[in-house]
Amino acid sequence: MSYLTDSPIDQPALVARVMRSSDGALALFAGVVRNHHQGKSVESIFYECWRPMAEKEMAKIEADVAAAYPDVAIAFIHRLGLLQVGEASIVIACTSPHRDEAFAACREIIERVKQTVPIWKREKGPDGEEWVGWQGN
C-alpha cells in the first residue's frame, strides 16, 4: 500500500484500514493547509516529493513505530501536488486497545515524517510563490 496519493485523502477509508474489534482507541492526526505562515498570507501549497525515497522512509517509520508500540495498528498517507487552504496534506490513524499507545504512536509518526521524509512545500500567497524553509542564500 502506498504512503502517497495525488488525490484528496479518504479519511474514513484510512480509519477503516486500522480499526479492529479489539481496539478501544483511535488517535488521528491531520495536517491541513492553513491560510498563514510566519505572518504571511497563504492561498495554496504545492507539495513536491521524491517518491521512491519517501515511500522507503515512510515504510521505515511505520516499521519502527509498530515495533515500539506492538499493540497499535497504523495507517498514514501524505498527499502531493497542489492543495488549497483547508485541505489535508497528511492523515495518520492509529488504533489500539488502550489510548496511551495510540496517541504516542500517532505523535511519533508526524514528528518523524517532518524530520526525514523527502517532501517539500512551495507556498503561494498574494505576493507570489516561495519554497518553505531553507532556500540557500
Binding site: 523527502p118 517539500w120 512545500k121 532556500q135 540557500g136
Partner: protein, 81 residues
C-alpha cells in the same frame, strides 16, 4: 566512474537541473560533488555541507565515498507533513 546526481525542490531551482549524469574521479566523496556545485552557484556557495545527502535512497554523511553507478541526491531540509 559515473554517478547520477538528483536535485529537488529549491536545490533543483538553484542549480537549474533535476537530474544529471556525472563523471567523477575514483575515490570521490559526496561532499566533493557538493563542492563542485557550490563553486558554480552563488546561492549555495557559503554552505560547506549540503543540507542532507542520500546515496541510493539512504541518508548518509557527505563524506561517504561514491561508487560507480551510485545515485547521489542532495536534499533541502524537508517540509512535509
Amino acid at each position: 566512474m559515473k554517478v547520477r546526481l538528483l536535485l529537488f525542490a529549491v536545490l533543483r531551482d538553484i542549480v537549474g537541473t533535476d537530474e544529471r549524469e556525472l563523471e567523477v574521479a575514483d575515490g570521490s566523496r559526496a561532499i566533493d560533488v557538493w563542492n563542485g556545485l557550490r563553486a558554480a552557484h552563488p546561492r549555495i556557495a557559503s554552505y560547506e555541507r549540503p543540507p542532507f545527502t542520500a546515496v541510493n535512497q539512504d541518508y548518509v554523511q557527505p563524506e561517504t565515498m561514491l561508487r560507480d553507478g551510485d545515485e547521489l541526491a542532495f536534499i533541502p531540509p524537508v517540509s512535509g507533513g
